[in-house]
Amino acid sequence: MSDVLVFAEHLQGNLTDSTFELLGKGRELAQTTGGHLIAALLGKGVEPLTEQMGVAHKVVMVEHQQLAAFNPEAYAIALKAVVQSLNPSIILIPYTSMGMDLASALSADLGIPLAAYVSEVKIEDGTLMTVSQMYGGKVNVESEFSGNPKIVSVLAGAFPAEAGKVEGTPVIETMEAPNALANLRVTFKQWIEPEGGDVDITQQDVLVSIGRGIQSQENIPMVEELARKLGGALSASRPIIDNKWLPKSRQVGKSGLKVKPRLYLALGISGAPEHIEGMKDAELIIAVNSDPNAPIFEYAHYGVVGDLFDLLPILKEKLGG
C-alpha cells in the first residue's frame, strides 16, 4: 500500500535515462512513504537489464513475445496487471512517447488520478504533491492527491539520473503474462531508424548559434569546434544563411526553424523579433553581444556584453578535450 512503482522504460535493449531518473526519485519517495521501490520491467528477454536496477527493492518482470518491443496496447495490459497485483501507492511513468500511451491509459482503465508534465514530486505531511509545467512552461501547477494509487508522469530530465544508478541486488519476481496479450488490436511490425543527412537542429540539445557578429566566414570553424565540445550543433540567424555561410537547414527563426534546445548559445545575434520567435523557448539561453542594448538580452537568461572573439578561445580552452 505504500510502495512506489516505476515503469522501467527501455528502447531497443537499453534502459532510458528517464528510467534512472525515476528510479532515483522513486527511492527517495519510498523512503518517505516507508514502502518499497519496485520497478515494472515489461519485455522479452529483458532480465539482463535488471542488473542496472540495483536501486530498486524489487523488479517485477512480465515477459511475453508481444512485449518484446513497446506496444501501447500490450504494455498497458501488462502494466495494469502489475499495478492491480501490487497495489502501489505511487506509480511513476516518464512523460515520454511510451509514457504518454501508458499513463493516461492506466488512469482511464483503473479510474485513478494522474498528473502529467511533472517536474517536481514531494511528499508533504503524508500527502503527495506534484508540480507540473503547464502552458509551455509559462505557469506551474501544484497539485495534491488523495487516495491510492496515483500516477505521476514525469518530464524527461526533471531529476538527476545519477540517483537511480546505484549498485544493488533487487529481488527479481516474474509475473505471468496476462491472457489478454493473446488477442491484441495493435501489432508491432518493425523498427525504423532515422535517416542520416545534415544535422536536424530541432533535435539538438545544444545549439551554438551565430549571427552577424561573427563577421566573416573564416570565423565559423572556430565556433563549430566550440559546438562540438559542447556536444551540440551550429545554427544561425538569417544573415548567415543568406550569405550562404551555412545551409538553410541551420536557420533559426521565422523563415527558418523553431528550436527548443536545452542550451542556446547566441553569439553575435542581436535578436530581431524574427529570430527570437524561433528560439525563445530554449531552456537556457546565453547571449554574447557587443551591443548592451541588443534585444537578445531581453530573452536570454544570461548575457555577456563584449567581444565574442575574446571570449571564444578561452571558453573553448576551459571546455578542454
Binding site: R212, R238, P239, I241, D242, N243, K254, S255, G256, A272, P273, E277, P295
Partner: protein
C-alpha cells in the same frame, strides 16, 4: 506545352577536325519537337476578375527595365505574359510571388497592364488552391489570429505609448477627436517602429493636436495581405475597423503607414468606409514651422520615396518639405527618386517573403537601395514607411555599411531637431 530547357543541350567539349569548339558552336539540339502553344492558361489567368489586363501586353518591354525585381534578378510583367503564352501557369508558378506591387511598371505601361490589380487577383486564386509560400501562410495565420502580422498579443498593441513621455489618449475614452491616428502594426510592435510612434506622439503633442488612437481596438489594415492574395482576411478586418471607426467622432484619419493610406483611400470606400485620410508627412508639412528646434542636425540626408506614398498616392513633396525645414539638414537626392523611386522590397507581401526571395534574386532590393543611398554621401537615409526602417537597417548591416549610413524615420529627425 512549355519549352523544355532540356531540349537544348550543351556538350562540354566538342572537337571537330582537331579544333576544339566552344560556346554556341557545340550546342546540340534535339530533334525539333511538335510544339503547341497552350494559350488556355493565359485565357484562364486573364479570366480572373481583376486580372483581365494581363492579356493586353504587347511586349513593348518598357516594364522590364524599370522593374526593381528585374534589377536584382530576372522578372517583369512582360515576361509573365510570355510565360503564360507558352503555357506556364502563373498560379503554381514561383514568379507569382516576386512582385512587390511597387507600380513602377504601370507608370510606364502604354497598355495599362495593371499588376496592382492582377497580382492580388491571381494570388487570391493561388491562396485558394493552397499555393502559399509557408512564410506568408504564417503571416496570414498570425494576422487572422492576432490582428497583426507579427503574431504579437493584441492586448499589447498600445504598449508602446507607455514610453511616449506624453499623453497618448485612447478614442475609447475620448470618443471624439479631430484626428484619429491609425498607428498600424509595425509601428505598434516592431522595436524600431515603436520608436517612430513615440516620436510622432511627441510631435502631435507639441503641436497641440487633438488626437486619439484605437489601442487594442485597432486591427491590421491588411493592405499588404490583400495584395499578397488574402482578400478575405482584408475584408474581415476592414469590416471590423469600419465598425470601430463608426463608434467615434473624428474628422481625419492620420496614418503612419502608406499601406494603410492605400487601404483607407482605395479599398475601404468599396466596403462603405469613406474617410478623410492623410499620411503623417502630408499632415505635418504645412505645420512644420510651428515647431521649435533646439538642435542643428548637421546631416546630409537622402530620402527614399515609399512606393505607396509616392507612385501610388502622388505625395512626393511633403516629406521633402519637412526635411528641408529641419535645421542643419542638407537633402541630397538619389538618382532614383520621386516617380522613379526604387522599392524597398516590402510591399505586396514582400515584407514576409525574404526567405523565398533569397532564392530568386542576387541581392535584396533594400540592399540595392542602400548602396545607392551610400553613393550620395548621405549620413542618413530618411524614410517614412514602417516597412523601410527595418528593411534598410538590415541592409545597411548586410552590405557592410554599418557606421556609414543611419536609417531614420523623418519623424525621428523632427524630434531630434526639436530636442524633445
Amino acid at each position: 506545352m512549355p519549352v523544355d530547357p532540356k531540349q537544348i543541350r550543351a556538350k562540354d567539349k566538342v572537337v571537330v577536325d582537331g579544333i576544339e569548339l566552344t560556346s554556341d558552336w557545340n550546342r546540340m539540339f534535339d530533334q525539333r519537337p511538335v510544339f503547341d502553344y497552350d494559350v488556355e492558361v493565359l485565357e484562364k489567368i486573364a479570366g480572373i476578375p481583376g486580372a483581365e489586363s494581363m492579356a493586353w501586353c504587347y511586349q513593348c518591354a518598357q516594364c522590364v527595365p524599370v522593374c526593381p525585381v528585374n534589377e536584382v534578378g530576372d522578372y517583369g510583367p512582360r515576361k509573365i505574359y510570355r510565360r503564360l503564352q507558352l503555357g506556364i501557369d502563373l498560379i503554381p508558378d514561383e514568379e507569382l510571388w516576386k512582385c512587390t506591387t511597387c507600380m513602377h511598371c504601370l507608370r510606364v505601361c502604354p497598355k495599362d497592364v495593371n499588376m496592382i490589380d492582377i497580382m492580388p487577383a491571381v494570388r487570391e486564386e493561388a491562396v485558394m488552391e493552397g499555393h502559399v509560400p509557408p512564410e506568408l501562410q504564417e503571416v496570414f495565420e498570425n494576422t487572422f489570429e492576432y490582428g497583426n502580422p507579427l503574431g504579437e498579443s493584441p492586448r499589447k498593441r498600445a504598449d508602446w505609448a507607455k514610453d511616449a513621455g506624453v499623453p497618448v489618449p485612447l478614442m475609447k475614452e475620448k470618443k471624439k477627436a479631430d484626428i484619429l491616428w491609425f498607428v498600424e502594426c509595425y509601428p505598434s510592435y516592431h522595436p524600431r517602429g515603436k520608436e517612430t510612434s513615440v516620436a510622432l506622439a511627441k510631435v502631435l503633442h507639441a503641436l497641440g493636436v487633438d488626437f486619439g488612437i484605437l489601442g487594442v481596438e485597432e486591427k491590421c489594415s491588411c493592405d499588404s495581405q490583400r495584395l499578397a492574395g488574402e482578400r478575405g482576411l482584408f475584408e474581415e478586418f476592414a469590416e471590423e475597423n469600419i465598425k470601430t471607426f463608426s463608434k467615434y467622432q473624428f474628422n481625419t484619419i492620420l496614418v503612419t503607414d502608406p499601406h494603410a493610406l492605400n487601404a483607407f483611400k482605395k479599398e475601404y470606400p468599396k466596403l462603405g468606409g469613406r474617410y478623410h485620410v492623410v499620411h503623417y508627412t502630408t499632415f505635418l508639412a504645412p505645420l512644420i514651422d510651428r515647431l521649435e528646434y533646439r538642435n542643428t542636425l548637421n546631416y546630409r540626408v537622402t530620402f527614399h520615396d515609399p512606393c505607396y506614398l509616392g507612385r501610388h498616392h502622388g505625395e512626393y513633396d511633403a516629406p521633402r518639405r519637412i526635411l528641408n525645414r529641419l535645421p542643419g539638414v542638407e537633402l541630397v537626392e538619389m538618382w532614383r527618386c520621386r516617380q522613379n523611386s526604387f522599392c524597398c522590397g516590402g510591399g505586396g507581401g514582400g515584407m514576409w517573403l525574404d526567405g523565398f526571395m533569397a532564392d530568386h534574386v542576387r541581392e535584396r532590393l533594400s540592399e540595392n537601395r542602400v548602396r545607392e543611398a551610400v553613393e550620395t554621401g548621405a549620413q542618413v537615409l530618411a524614410v517614412c514607411c514602417p516597412y523601410e526602417i527595418s528593411r534598410f537597417e538590415d541592409a545597411v548591416k548586410s552590405t557592410g555599411n554599418e557606421g556609414k549610413l543611419m536609417v531614420k524615420d523623418i519623424i525621428e529627425l523632427v524630434v531630434e531637431a526639436m530636442g524633445a
